[in-house]
């Protein structure tokens, strides 16, 4: 439909565009500008060029945060992808109770991170002993303070995060798997292709476009992860589970170092964009279903 006036499409778009500019575009540009200044929010801003960026190379906490974030990304992405796929495979192979099970698997995704974190803190506690440690000692494994121990805090955090969100990818993979044409599977079955081989040789290759998309979103999501790390461990103990986003947040709102914090924000933005485009390049082109 061609609109009668040239103005009409703009009138329909204007409210959304104004809000988008005010909330997203202007602040992003502002952050880019701020990253070249030294500013504590009170005294006048001081232009220091790229000094904040140079500081990134010598900041030990920042290096630690990047490394932690990459480990976090690797663990959480792998868990969500593998468990999501595994559950989707199981779910698409049974008929009765599919929907109920799907709804149940999805429950952690809809619970607020704060609430879930508080529950995890209690379940994983050593003093008083939480359920998780009770189970471990019943299995003959030494219970420990998973969140309080620098050796395990990062891994525990990554698993907690993955646990919360794996339901989303289960649903994504499930819908894709169910969408695979029955004819293909029928033919494979007649040729004697078993249940497991059907997945690895036929179904999963057929949904690789969806898998690629999921991988991109997982990597993007885990690189900028903030809520769970902030609430569950707050980067601690020490800096053992510090993420780039939590470090950025603390630099801004605890140390009041707005300039350097903006630099960290720009790093995070670039890391997400570059990370995603690398993964996209490596993946086969998503096929349109």
């Amino acid at each position: 439909m061609r609109s009668k006036s040239k103005l009409a499409p703009w009138l329909f778009s204007a409210p959304a565009l104004i809000v988008f500019c005010a909330v997203v575009v202007i602040p992003v540009v502002w952050t880019l500008v701020l990253s070249a200044y030294k500013w504590d929010g009170i005294s006048p801003m001081k232009f220091i060029g790229l000094k904040n960026y140079a500081k990134l190379f010598t900041d030990y906490t920042f290096h630690k945060a990047v490394l932690n974030n990459l480990k976090f990304m690797a663990i959480s992405t792998t868990y969500q992808f593998v468990v999501g796929m595994f559950l989707a495979m199981l779910l698409s192979s049974v008929t009765r109770g599919r929907n109920l099970l799907k709804v149940i698997f999805f429950v952690p995704c809809i619970i607020s991170t704060v609430a879930l974190s508080q529950i995890f803190i209690k379940l994983l506690a050593l003093e008083p002993i939480g359920v998780f440690n009770v189970v471990l000692s019943a299995l003959g494994i030494q219970p420990r303070a998973f969140l309080g121990d620098p050796a395990t805090s990062l891994y525990t955090l990554a698993f907690a995060d993955a646990y919360k969100y794996c339901g989303i990818y289960m649903v994504v993979f499930y819908s894709a798997l169910v969408g695979v044409s029955e004819d293909v599977i029928e033919a494979a079955t007649i040729d004697g292709c078993g249940w497991l081989r059907q997945f690895f040789y036929i179904k999963i290759p057929m949904i690789k476009g969806v898998c690629g998309m999921a991988l991109v979103m997982l990597i993007n999501g885990t690189l900028k992860s903030f809520e769970m790390p902030y609430v569950l461990t707050n980067g601690g103990p020490g800096t053992s589970s510090e993420m780039v986003a939590t470090y950025m947040y603390k630099t801004a709102f605890s140390s009041m170092n707005y300039g350097y914090s903006s630099t960290l924000a720009v790093f995070l933005l670039l890391e997400c964009l570059i990370g995603v485009s690398i993964v996209r390049k490596m993946l086969p082109k998503a096929d349109i279903e």
């Binding site: 439909m1 609109s3 009668k4 009409a8 499409p9 329909f12 778009s13 959304a16 809000v19 988008f20 005010a22 909330v23 997203v24 202007i26 602040p27 992003v28 952050t31 701020l34 929010g41 559950l87 192979s93 049974v94 709804v103 149940i104 698997f105 999805f106 809809i110 619970i111 607020s112 991170t113 704060v114 609430a115 508080q118 529950i119 209690k122 359920v131 009770v134 339901g167 990818y169 649903v171 994504v172 819908s175 599977i185 079955t189 249940w195 998309m213 979103m217 903030f226 809520e227 609430v231 986003a245 947040y249 801004a252 709102f253 914090s261 924000a265 720009v266 995070l268 997400c272 964009l273």
Partner: protein
């Protein structure tokens, strides 16, 4: 087709599925069970045991110790404003993009879609300064505005893909009958994309209701806090001593989402899964 799976294999599949189902909901069940134990039981009985008798005192204490009803109200107001405005802004924009051919459309759409990749923290400091200067901190708008802006890309995307199913011939017919663009939009398009509106609003509700970062940054006044922040404060203040009321507070905070999820799980799951792979 499914008959090709033999009975023993099917038993194993179900066993695994049920095991995972238990793992996925256990934390929620556990906190609800624990919130019904009195302090003696919480202290001396095993943490996984069922309560010997149901004790509701924790809920009474939790309500007395905190401003849960006020936080509940704040969360509700923020959710209603955000979701309402989101639909009001996104729907006409998607209409202009998909039905009114205008040159700048595709370019604008791809710019807005890029917003999906931007981490929200990148904007946190400028937002903080802006809202501070405009006196918006500790008002509902400091939570509504950012969620609105960052929510737009996804909503516009979803509306636009639904509008592809609205036949152009329908709009052309309306045009010939003398309907204005605005009339075509409100009388034809809006009713036809009602399902999109329902899906967007329900799945966004979950995100808005659970939103943490903005609320933690912009709402510092006690009376303005939303449920997640109230819960965080509550746990920080009493979590180590008053276990029972803490569990009760957690249960009360997650109950609304669980109830809504129970009724609208299909829309919520669909919306969140779509949001996870489309960009």
């Amino acid at each position: 087709m499914k008959k090709s799976i033999s009975l023993p294999v099917r038993m194993v599949l179900y066993a695994l599925l049920i095991l995972f189902a238990i793992v996925q909901v256990y934390p929620i069940i556990w906190v609800i069970i624990s919130s019904l134990k009195d302090s003696q039981e919480l202290l001396y009985s095993a943490s996984y045991a069922l309560p010997k008798r149901l004790y509701f005192g924790n809920y009474v204490h939790a309500l007395k110790m905190s401003s849960i009803p006020k936080a509940f109200l704040n969360s509700t107001i923020v959710a209603v404003l955000t979701l309402g405005l989101e639909a009001v802004l996104a729907c006409p924009f998607a209409f202009a993009l998909s039905k009114l051919q205008f040159k700048a459309g595709p370019k604008l759409f791809s710019i807005v879609l890029m917003g999906m990749m931007i981490p929200t923290f990148v904007c946190l400091i400028p937002m903080f300064r802006m809202y501070n200067a405009m006196g918006l901190r500790n008002t509902y708008f400091s939570l509504v505005l950012p969620q609105l802006g960052f929510g737009l890309p996804m909503s516009v995307y979803m509306y636009k893909s639904f509008m592809e199913y609205v036949p152009n011939s329908l709009l052309e017919a309306a045009d010939i009958d003398g309907a204005t663009t605005w009339q075509s939009f409100t009388r034809i398009v809006v009713p036809m994309v009602k399902n999109a509106t329902v899906t967007i609003i329900t799945y966004k509700f979950i995100y808005v209701w659970n939103e943490f970062t903005y609320a933690n940054t912009f709402m510092t006044e006690r009376t303005m806090k939303t449920l997640p922040i109230m819960l965080k404060d509550f746990a920080g203040e009493y979590g180590m001593i008053e276990w029972g009321p803490t569990y009760a507070a957690i249960t009360m905070a997650i109950l609304p989402t669980l109830i809504i999820y129970f009724f609208l799980s299909k829309n919520i799951i669909e919306g969140m899964a779509l949001g996870a792979v489309k960009m």
